[in-house]
Amino acid sequence: MSWARAGLFAAFLFVVFILQEAAISKINFPISGFSLYLAVLLGLMSLEDKFGAIVLGFIGGLILDFSPSSDAPFGKWALILTLVGYVFATNRESIGDFTERPGSFVIFISIGSALTLVVFLCFGVLLGENNGAFGTNMLTIFGNSLWTLLFAPILLPGLVKWRSITVNARERA
């Protein structure tokens, strides 16, 4: 992944982050809210190679750390999403090309989103944070996964298109 592409992805993710914070968070989804940002980030990571997924995870995590509503220490999301990026890329290599298997992509993103939030909670426990009621957290994770499962098919074509625009000829080869 070139520096220019990393910059482009950072700008794109920042726009999605603003959309998430300003608009998506205003919608009262049943069960629990939907994190468009996580879905987009995990979607992009799943289309990248190992190196790209790690870089994207770190950049995406840093942007999420800027969330004004977050109480977590700065860098926590960066740490988690870098790890998730690595795990994603490692597993993706065994699954193959997601663009040819949209079904797998959707399930992968949905489960990945849930696992990311679980890891976030677990790190919170390790850092001594108060995460609240277990049931409520599980409901939040379930709700988010459900909405990700429903919205990911809409996101996939856009993400594939975006990636093909940003990939230069050398990287494509």
Partner: protein, 325 residues
């Protein structure tokens, strides 16, 4: 070649993980990278949120409206009748009207308590990915809002100002798992601590081992030193379940909050507390249950016996039905 790529990825992974851990350590050791950067993000986000708020206000509750569609169907007949009346009335923006009602309610509460308040619109909610229960309001330090000020709505306490920028502020809601507030039971004045649980249910823990809690007890805020972060006497919630198990030293209970944190449109920030503690004067008074008595009057029937003259008809006892509304 592939091995080289893998090594490069692993090296990058280690570097980035160490960087992230370094950032976390700095933050936990009190070097406020997060505070400044998040404050800057909030300053940038507030105008965008305000813009989106105007657009999303009518559609924000779309999903909950869809969920209640079945229930709403039964009301269609009544609504059709009302619709005819409404056509003749002045068309008022429903959203603005709703906000006005809430504003009236909150100003009424503030007036009764003698608090000076700054009212604000809710322009954002905490992200689904952060697990923290917060809202963003469109009033900031330029309007006199400061950190650790109490935030109320028409029903009672909502939360506390967590951070402030010039034109906006983030409020941590009562439902946040990190939220703690000292409360007292109206009447008995028994003191306890209310803990946020991530929903509109809270846990009350009494401090006095001899204290008792009853179902329906009203809870009011105890107040803090210098009225920050909490002013005294604000309605907090009512006891919905009492835990009678003897495992804890003090009694605990489940509490339902008075304020519905899922539909916050307008809130007020208490900038100056009342000169005197309002004591129990702000305890919400439940609406009296209206009992309607319907008395059936016997109507002379056409099929009455021809032998019986109207004057000799023995009046039947009036059946009386009782209904509650």
């Amino acid at each position: 070649m592939a091995a080289s790529g893998n090594n490069r990825s692993r090296l990058l992974l280690v570097i980035l993980l160490v960087t992230a851990l370094f950032l976390i350590t700095l933050d936990l050791r009190g070097i406020n990278i997060a505070k400044n950067s998040r404050s800057a993000t909030q300053t940038f986000l507030a105008p965008v949120q305000r813009g989106f708020s105007d657009f999303f206000s009518p559609v924000g509750n779309f999903f909950s409206d869809v969920k209640n569609f079945g229930r709403a169907k039964a009301q269609i007949t009544d609504l059709e009748k009302e619709n005819a009346k409404l056509k003749n009335q002045l068309v008022v923006n429903a959203d603005v009207k709703g906000q006005l009602t809430k504003l009236k309610g909150v100003l009424n509460l503030a007036g009764r308590g003698g608090y000076k308040v700054v009212s604000a619109r809710v322009i954002g909610q905490g992200s689904a990915s952060t697990f923290s229960q917060t809202i963003t309001i469109d009033a900031g330090s330029n309007d006199g809002v400061q950190k650790d000020m109490t935030v109320i709505n028409e029903s009672g306490i909502v939360g506390v100002v967590k951070s402030v920028t010039g034109s906006s502020a983030i409020v941590i809601l009562m439902s946040d798992p990190t939220f703690r507030i000292g409360v007292r039971i109206a009447g008995t004045q028994t003191v306890g601590i209310l803990l946020g649980q991530g929903s509109n249910r809270y846990t009350l823990q009494l401090l006095d081992p001899a204290g008792t809690i009853k179902f329906g007890d009203a809870l009011l805020s105890l107040g803090s030193d210098n009225n920050h972060p909490f002013v005294p006497g604000l309605p907090v919630g009512s006891v919905s379940f009492v835990d009678h198990s003897n495992s804890a030293l003090t009694q605990t209970a489940s509490v339902t909050g008075y304020a519905n944190l899922n539909s916050l449109g307008v809130v007020s920030v208490i900038t100056t507390a009342a000169k005197q503690d309002p004591k129990d004067s702000l305890v919400p008074v439940p609406d009296p249950i209206k009992t309607i008595y319907v008395t059936a009057t016997p109507v002379p029937s056409a099929s009455a016996s021809p032998n019986s003259s109207p004057g000799s008809a023995t009046p039947k006892p009036s059946p009386t039905s009782k209904g509650k509304k």
